[in-house]
Symmetry: C2
């Protein structure tokens, strides 16, 4: 065997990339089959398909842990300053992954997977029975296992050695973000959103939404989906739309991104915003630089970055006055039975109605962030050991009463509603970070050109072009805070988002 | 390592099955991704998906050739008389596969794959240019390569050692069948079908088909597909329907069979018979004994057996008077714009019109077999060295003139129309054998109960039940001739098929 330290950096880089290229094929296979499981696979075939993904997952796991590769990854990282931008980002990504896994024994890994499987099963059962106590023990075990896992990371710096568990969890989903900074952002958000909500509650303005639940056909929905994807600039030669129980977007490779939606015959609006949201994720994938794929870093953007883009198209564009104006005639054409007695203004108001509610995934743009803040506050206390798992429903209900003025009748519509805690912690804040990011770059975009005018005239290509150049170009190579600074020249702040909400909702509810 | 000869047969069997179970997961992965390529994958993603299937194909190839496994397969075959019926069939299947590949060097294998790839590319190009001479050299090379491949088989008996190349090719697709027996069946078929065709041409009866090309919507077509699959007894929890350019059926595992169709807006009837045909393949898969899957022999039926079932549902059931009577009211309901001026009798006659034509895949039930016979006669002469590849268009056109009374204007609608010869020889006859088989078991079924009455009353479950018990139960464990004897108590004959055609078409065309 060649002594790696004697290899040129070019040779070393080539060797790492060749190994990754092989594994990449297994990853693509696994993604394709996972997508198939959720879209085309018959119900009774799912279990067998799961066996296939498990096998492929095991092969990928082993391939990425081959000593030949991990030795090269460590060596390449030492020489990262000799590499180009993207190769360096790849090297850092691989090295970080390696350091996080280096000290985990196969037994610990197995135990962690089994803690997750058990938490998932208990969560499903507990949610069905609406009883959090059925989930609590498995959740405690998972908290313990997850804390052990992140605390076992081989430190990459002195600073990292001292990082508490929850900080590490946050950093897994959002490179460069800390709970400390999230606290500041969330404190301001909570205060200003709850204040705005109180003013809305005091206003006499009532908004009509009856027509949103009028029956539509599947064919009308399909027509809507294709109209919206076309309008957004989705490239149909490099992506397709399918149906699944829970909508998602998955990118198999640079020329293959899969979007799914779900059709409810009494909610065309659910499909409408699903398409804009998932279509946003898809545009991100379709407009990444080719070099990101060449360097295997096309998945290296943070969750908050990805969510910022999907929510940009869904909310900032999709719930704006000019967008509603743009699509209203086509909606009238597609759904004559819905829009016979509905004005464009009524549609705009209906899709922006603010109303405190219990279920996060059904929340409006204004109250959504409060749902996230509650989850963040609870999971932080949980990981920091300040509350016990069995305290969660009580704390949950108190916070819902305090922030949103509503209280769940049972755990299924309370602390058991989301599946996230049956697999990980630290993911929730990325949803809200997405809102902060996209309001910031929306502001920067508005300085570059008249965004409302572009939307009103259907020129989404102009918006996509700006997104490609500023938002997508470096998402895979920068940390979250570097990235938003690179786009906007400013430090991360919640202000633009909160101002946007205040301006928009003051208009809709006629607040003084 | 344990000495295999010291292992008990049970242990040996278990060891083989464990190895196959691992490979089976790779095979399932490969099937799922191949299906995805033809159904959901975006156009520009297909190339990348092909890389994935190539990698998986390579892994499967290697896994099945691992020395550990092949040694065990050889040892198990020696003890096959100690095994149960299905384990024995598995042992024979694996041993046959092994013997056929034992003497092929990696170089020969590579050369064979490359001959096929090259033939495929040349065929595509030649068909586009409508010029057989562009295909002939690659075809000659493939003939040579395929002959070498089958002649390199390690003989399993003295008799097999003497088998000529074309006999071997036939046996690859139809265990237990020989060109000698096919010759007899085809000679009789050619004589009686051409005679029948002449009588039809002389008759004054004209059949109306104008309404078959009336425009229909995609939604109407989808409704038709689901109606027909439901009527047939397709199990929707263990199978799904998708769309692809060329319809196909593929079974991923016992609980997952995928059917595809293609919608043409000016031919609902194309979808109608595609669903019955592919649905027939799917029922075969869904009603196989579970033990066939446990023993990895669920693909062990011959091509002729599979085709017999799809054509049974498509033609014998689907083009029968009682079936048309059964579905006519629903068709009127689904396609009001098509059936306003069409009687049930007119529909029955239209789907049974006999008309000599150039394209096999568009041929009617009567002339179809002549298309097959022509191909069989040509490929047999080609492999036997009695004609050269460049002679094919001439021979093709002569035979079309003689048997069908039509002559292609160019090679694209002549000898280049099918892709088969760019990959293998000996497949075509299985299509016609399917017709002989199903007419035989249709006759046996009629002795058991009133089949027409069951169809007319929509009781296809009764027919499926009989098929399951008699046709599907032993398809994976018997050779073709043993199987048809087991079902019907008779030796393979074309008589039932020819009588069926004569009876049916005499009725439709009022022949004396």
């Amino acid at each position: 065997m060649t002594d790696m330290t004697e290899m040129t950096t070019d040779k070393l880089l080539e060797s790492v990339k060749n190994k990754l290229a092989e594994t990449e094929l297994l990853i693509r296979a696994n993604k394709a089959i996972s997508i198939d499981m959720m879209t085309c696979c018959p119900k009774k075939g799912i279990k067998s398909a799961a066996e296939v993904t498990e096998m492929l997952g095991g092969m990928i796991f082993s391939a990425l842990r081959e000593k030949d590769l991990t030795d090269e990854v460590e060596q390449l990282y030492l020489r990262r300053n000799e590499l180009g931008t993207r190769d360096r980002a790849m090297s850092e990504m691989l090295y970080t992954m390696r350091m996080r896994e280096k000290n985990i024994t196969p037994e610990q890994n197995k135990e962690n997977i089994s803690a997750k499987n058990s938490a998932w099963e208990c969560w499903l059962n507990a949610k069905e029975k609406k009883d959090f106590t059925l989930f609590a023990p498995a959740l405690s075990a998972l908290v313990k296992s997850e804390k052990e896992r992140v605390m076992s990371w081989e430190p990459m710096s002195e600073e990292q050695r001292k990082m508490p568990a929850y900080d590490r969890m946050i950093s897994e989903f959002e490179r460069g973000m800390t709970p400390e900074r999230i606290d500041t952002l969330f404190d301001e958000s909570r205060a200003r959103i709850t204040a705005l909500l109180r003013r809305i509650a005091d206003s006499s303005r009532s908004i009509r939404t009856d027509f949103l639940s009028r029956r539509v056909t599947r064919e009308q929905q399909q027509r809507l989906s294709h109209y919206l994807l076309g309008l957004m600039g989705f490239d149909g030669s490099r992506g397709t739309l399918a149906e699944s129980e829970h909508p998602f977007t998955e990118q198999i490779n640079r020329n293959d991104v899969r979007v799914t939606t779900h059709y409810y015959d009494d909610s065309f609006i659910s499909n409408f915003y699903t398409i804009l949201h998932e279509g946003g994720h898809a545009l991100f994938g379709q407009m990444l630089p080719d070099e990101d794929h060449d360097c295997f870093i096309s998945d290296n953007m943070t969750m908050g970055m990805h969510e910022s883009v999907s929510r940009f198209y869904e909310n900032i564009i999709g719930r704006s006055r000019p967008f509603i104006k743009l699509v209203y005639p086509e909606l009238c054409e597609i759904f004559p039975q819905v829009f016979g007695d509905v004005t464009e203004r009524e549609l705009y108001e209906a899709v922006n109605r603010a109303e405190p509610s219990l279920i996060r995934t059904e929340a409006d743009e204004l109250t959504y962030t409060l749902h996230i803040i509650i989850r963040y506050e609870i999971e932080k206390m949980l990981i920091d050991g300040k509350i016990k798992t069995e305290d969660i429903p009580r704390v949950w209900n108190e916070k819902y009463r305090e922030y949103l003025g509503v209280v769940p009748e049972n755990d299924a519509e309370g602390a058991l509603q989301d599946s996230h805690w049956s697999s990980d912690f630290g993911y929730f804040p990325t949803y809200a970070l997405g809102n902060f990011y996209n309001s910031m770059y929306h502001n920067a975009m508005k300085k570059a050109f008249d965004v409302d005018e572009a939307v009103a005239s259907g020129d989404l290509a102009r918006i996509n072009g700006w997104m490609k150049e500023h938002v997508f170009a470096k998402a895979d190579i920068l940390d979250a805070d570097e990235w938003i600074r690179d786009i906007t020249g400013e430090e991360l702040t919640a202000s633009y988002f909160l101002e946007y909400l205040e301006r928009k909702y003051s208009g809709i509810y006629g607040l003084k």
